[in-house]
Amino acid sequence: MKQTPLTNGRLSFYSLKRRPFRAACLILIVTILAFTLSGGSVLTASLENGMNSMSQRLGADLMVVPEGYKADMEEVLLKGDPCHFYFSPTITQQVAQIEGVAQVTAQFFLTSLSESCCSAQVQLIGFDPETDFVIQPWIARTYGSVVENGVLIAGSDIVLESDHTLRLFNCSYPVAAQFEKTATGLDSSVFMNMDTMKSLFVSARKAGINFLAADEPGGSVSSILVKVKKGHDPETVAGLIKSRIPHIDVIVSKSMITGIADNLGSLVGYIRVLSILLWVIAVLVLTAVFSFTINERKKEFAVLRILGATRKRLVRLVLTESLLLSVMGGIAGTAAAAVLVLPFSAYIGERLQLPYLQPDAGVVLGILALSLLLSFVVGPLASIYAAVRISRAETYLTMREGE
């Protein structure tokens, strides 16, 4: 007759099996903890990653826009909500001459339509290859070449036609490359040089859409991106621009990012505090439960001592039992977090209205492994007191209790 050996693990498992309700409750506590730790950690890492990506991608210290369009510009950058606004291109030169300004480049915005003429309604951004210092560095990294006339570069969220083109104002344009995800509104924007933008503008005119009274993009610009000279404070330079040029607004990238970072910091802070609090509560609850349970089981451990179990073995038995609970709860919670948080990252990012960029698989796996480890530790940590207490109990006295 073949029987399995009665190892510490098996004895602990039998012990848990005998009290299924208690075991289920304890596993549930660790499951909730593991879910919060894993889910919360992936969430905070994604928010921080999104924030880093955003600050890297903005590329300019200041953004000059027509007066009253500051919020629209921020919407374009953060959410990719399509909009267009224009002012005179002469402002570009005025801005360039202001003290502390190192580089300027103008961009021209257009929006496609959610009608049959276009693949989708997206933000179209034209840049000047001669002066651009923001878009071209990404293009060089993603595409590895200069964007030719008539060719587009799309953000990561843009859905292309099957032939890798985009239909805009009844014309089809090839898409040379798509940028990697940035967790900003730029993911749902399409980029092109100013010549392509001009031909697009003409197509729009032909389709009966008049964005401007002027003839073409060269006659207007939507925003002027500014790089500030080293040693100059962007806020001061922004103040100078605003005071010298009428009817404009200036967005200071650092301030915008700081504002978002403040919101994000609060959210990340709440998630971290909640995780730490849950971890401490789980340890305390489990400590109390193990302590009560061990009291009930004093005679059982006394019998084990009589049969020849060392004090160390009793400690190992209690720790193994609690580790089993933690492992089951930890795996369940982490798996639930992986199933519920990872596939819905896009939805979560949209709901949070904050830059949300899930880190790559390696980082996510690392986070999940760490959360798993922290969940595994909870049980043994909570049962140390009970384990030491039971190992120190005098078998002789325990056996006599209740006689």
């Binding site: 007759m1 073949k2 029987q3 050996p5 009665l6 190892t7 004895l11 039998y14 012990s15 099996k17 005998r18 005679k299 059982e300 019998v303 084990l304 001592r305 009589i306 049969l307 020849g308 179990a309 060392t310 004090r311 160390k312 073995r313 078998t395 002789y396 056996m399 006599r400 006689e403």
Partner: protein
């Protein structure tokens, strides 16, 4: 000689007063011996048994097993001694409720590294104590007498030199008590010394060497 107890004393404190649970006890147990110690409750019988089992440290005196004084053992040595040399049948219900009868019997085998077919051996012991058909039952499904038989089989799993039994018939009827005594006698006749303490005069086998314990003092054959 299996066990030699010499000048064994155990002193306890209760509040500010101290008392002797065992006082200058002397006893020798030989292979195949059948020793019964009788005495009233509180006379020190269980304390003596616990001292011999290495569960308590004596205040003075010695307990020699194979020429070694077990008072000098550390926890690991004392546990190994209890597991290998001693078979202990505690008073009352002492089976682990979450294990089957067979696993209860097999359990002490796994506390230290051993070779052999423990399951086969456990089944043989269950046959010896007359309950092989209960191997896959749980303790809650057994009667008091059956549980005691399982505890005896468990105590014998590692072929101990001496079997200690603490009031093994305390809550059993007359017929079951007689069956138990017969079983203990068979065990002793197979070479394992049996040292039993009881306050139940019904539980005294006619062939046993009988000692009396009173107020911690062990006196010769009664």
């Amino acid at each position: 000689m299996v066990v030699r107890v010499s000048q064994l004393t155990k002193e306890f404190k209760r509040g500010n007063t101290s008392f002797f649970a065992v006082k200058n006890a002397g006893l020798s147990v030989y292979p195949g011996d059948f020793v019964s110690i009788i005495g009233r409750s509180g006379s020190g019988k269980t304390t003596l048994l616990n001292l011999i089992a290495g569960l308590l440290k004596p205040t003075s005196g010695s307990i020699e097993i194979g020429g070694k004084d077990i008072a000098s053992f550390n926890d690991a040595e004392a546990s190994r001694y209890r597991n290998a040399i001693i078979g202990y049948v505690p008073q009352g219900q002492s089976l682990l409720a979450n294990l089957t009868v067979l696993d209860n019997v097999r359990l002490p085998f796994y506390f230290f590294r051993r070779e052999g077919d423990v399951t086969k051996k456990a089944m043989t012991l269950l046959e010896q104590v007359g309950i092989p058909h209960l191997a896959h039952m749980y303790p809650r499904q057994l009667s008091g007498g059956e549980m005691r038989r399982v505890a005896i089989a468990r105590a014998l799993i590692n072929d101990p030199a001496v079997l200690l039994a603490d009031e093994p018939t305390s809550d059993l009827d007359v017929q079951t008590t007689a069956e138990m005594m017969k079983l203990f006698r068979e065990i002793s006749m197979n070479g394992t010394a049996v040292l039993m303490v009881t306050h139940d005069l019904e539980a005294i086998h006619e062939e046993a060497r009988i000692f009396r314990m009173e107020a911690g003092v062990l006196t010769g054959q009664a």
